[in-house]
Assembly symmetry: D2
Homo-oligomer: 261 residues x 4
């Protein structure tokens, strides 16, 4: 069964900026989804900021295996309640791929717990994305690096937690470096940050970038049953203890009482 | 110069529950601070939920090297704006030690990005905290384990990210285990979660627990200058690039414009 | 295509000790292989210490996707040259599952770089293996813990590097704890250490242990092409540099010369 | 009390190559030690390959807090027995700083468990070492990057395990990147790999490189008592169990018997 993938786009610059509209006439989300749908093992659909509930209803998220996120101009317009819903679904096991300027999205900052800041420059300079973890699922089918002739520069320090794995590191013509492919896990959800994607360049038309997107969906997919109770804090009564126990000492809670939180 | 340490207590059960008041007549925060002040290298003061701004003003946080957090019944009463302020200060380099039921505090959940949930049982059972990383700064002066005759049980799975280091793991009489000492870093701030501390038992009067608290303050202290600009995303203009660059291609931003966030 | 899995057993106590022979009349390796072959996605065969080249020829290793290692009494009899061969093959991408007393095998110590020591007691005590990372591939199909009525105790500190992931932690009747399921990567090879397996108890006949073994083979399998050149240190000549370069300054090496190592 | 630091140099190219001898007339080890001795908190001495036991006797290592290692041409001439001795001392808590071509030293390969391979080019090109973990002890006193006008290039993939922390990443004029500052722990020993240092350039005369060396000694110093028993695997007899135990089931070992290894 193909991996049910939802590509979320904020869909703002595509509507407002003629360069972006020219590169992505149906929206960046549509181009990204088209890359994913080249793989018969992935079934990608799209949602945008302007949809009801940003297209991220409980029902839709429950059926989503992997969510891909692209946002830039309108991070602040994403409603907090929906960000919390997405976060909960990641904890349950939905994969999340955060692209480029999504480093400043509410969902990424919440899952990282850090500022997620970086340096930047929009000069159309050359970028070379080196494969650091060569045999990683996300790097399959690539050569030793990906070259992009025109990109926005992102420079270190990138204020994120130490990753589980560093998959890619970028070299920039102007002299900077950046950790461009990083993996994390939060709850049961596997998270991949992938740097390329500035909207004024045809990044998501690049063959190798498209390969990485497909790879990342496969990597981020966790087929384990959804861990829907992950936010619960269940009491284990004395009578249910694995080892025989006798209640001792003073207590805050009566039998069967909920814990504090 | 001693490490300026602030012990924050929610100070609720000490006021309401006679058992807790009996164990901690001046409040748990006062007992914890007394443990720290046994070390001439630490200067600990206290603040409580009921103080103006919860005792966590900008000025006070700016002067704090390490913050110790104990809360349980009133996590929801801590104002979001102040939690954000504490989070920012951790990013800048303030150490943070989160104790026991603080696993469900707003500040810990924000910094971890996860549910921070666990199993629990309040049966006064025996706990044995094993030292896993024997030569870690936080484990100095201890034997191979700490035994606590009466504790609340916390059981795995503990829904936190993979830690940088696992320092302690607990064994419980009722049959469970728990990762009781975990380290993290967020921005420049070093974070230590330490499990013991249920308020109906004299945990913070235990000699070895007090030793761990002092050790943890030393470990969490980052003497580097505060990284106050950590949340900024500075533009690096073409003219300031380390390597000579020529502006190429279309742009979203004019020279000198702020980035989107 | 099923995952080509090789179960290696030292096959000593099965021949010498009537208790072990009674539990594992065809050898522990055969029992482990039978657990794996219950899964149509795995094709497991066996090799033993007493085979020529310990059954670990270049040809056989080249065709092996995942190697499972059980040894105890005869670690010192495994030839160094063959250990190096196995290590190289792990770097290339062969998965490795190290069981129980294999913590002191040459191959595990070489891949970890540490002493791999621990405490132990052979008292037939109860063990409860808690699932810490519930949605991990290796934990699928299990409940919250595995109970083993009679096991050898292994206690912390376990002198291994901080793992990528802690999947299981054990509780022991006698009061100790142990990190019983740990993941690592070395080169392209995924490594899983799994604690249970003392030869005087029927551990590898336990249904849930057998499930973990199958899960671990799936997790450790890296389908990326073998990274056979991983130990090379290729020179990148000036003429082949990605950016145009001019040779500057003094040199140790002439054009085309091998590097030192 | 100053940190007792031993700088080990293989002292080969300084004797054979006039360029190297010109830059380091007293040997690279002497120049490195001079950088460390600018800090009153460090007391650095030197040892070389040609010394008896390579200058690394049991007695001297026992008194060493941090060992700094530079080698290139003669890795194979370092005796295995002495490498094992150094490895044991790292496990006990001695810090280790491995410089540049030391990536291929026996001691580093043993502690990492990997091939430690990389790409290289000796073209005298420009390197810019970016600070990724800005508030790390090892990065104190630096700006956002260190620029070296002429260096040997090292390029990814660098075949080492995922580090605890990535402190520095290098940009090279010829288009490559490299993780130039990585931290690890093995047993109680803290390990830092630092890339710069090719012998045909005056790298260890650079002010900022010298600052990093001093910082790294402070970071790598573990003042905990030496964990001399780290390689032991002590039996815990039934009578000494923390919880009351009754011996059950069949056994391999008699009371008081040594474990197998």
């Amino acid at each position: 069964m193909p991996i049910k993938t939802l590509v979320w786009g904020e869909n703002v610059h595509e509507q407002e900026n003629p360069v972006v509209a020219g590169l992505y006439p149906e929206g960046m989300h549509a181009t990204i989804a088209s890359a994913l749908n080249e793989d018969a093992g992935i079934a990608a659909t799209t949602a945008v900021l302007q949809d009801a509930e940003h297209g991220l209803t409980e029902e839709r998220l429950a059926k989503t295996d992997v969510l891909v996120w692209w946002g830039h101009a309108a991070h602040g317009k994403v409603e907090d309640a929906i960000v919390e819903r997405v976060q909960k679904r990641v904890w349950e096991g939905m994969g999340l791929i955060v692209l480029h300027s999504g480093h400043f999205s509410k969902i990424f900052k919440r899952l990282m717990g850090t500022a997620c800041s970086l340096k930047w420059r929009e000069a159309g300079e050359r970028e070379r994305i080196w494969v650091v973890n060569r045999s990683h699922r996300i790097a399959q089918g690539l050569g030793e690096c990906i070259e992009l002739p025109n990109t926005e520069m992102y420079g270190e320090p990138f204020a994120v937690p130490e990753p589980l794995e560093t998959v890619f590191i970028s070299w920039f013509e102007g002299g900077e470096v950046f950790r461009s492919g990083l993996t994390y896990q939060r709850g049961a959800g596997k998270i991949f940050y992938f740097r390329p994607g500035h909207e004024t360049y045809p990044i998501y038309h690049n063959t190798e970038v498209r390969q990485v997107l497909r790879n990342a969906v496969h990597w981020a997919h966790n087929p384990a049953p959804a861990w829907t109770a992950i936010a619960d804090a269940p009491n284990v009564p004395v009578a249910a203890a694995k080892e025989k126990l006798v209640q001792k000492g003073p207590r805050l809670h009566r039998d069967g009482e909920e814990g504090l939180r």
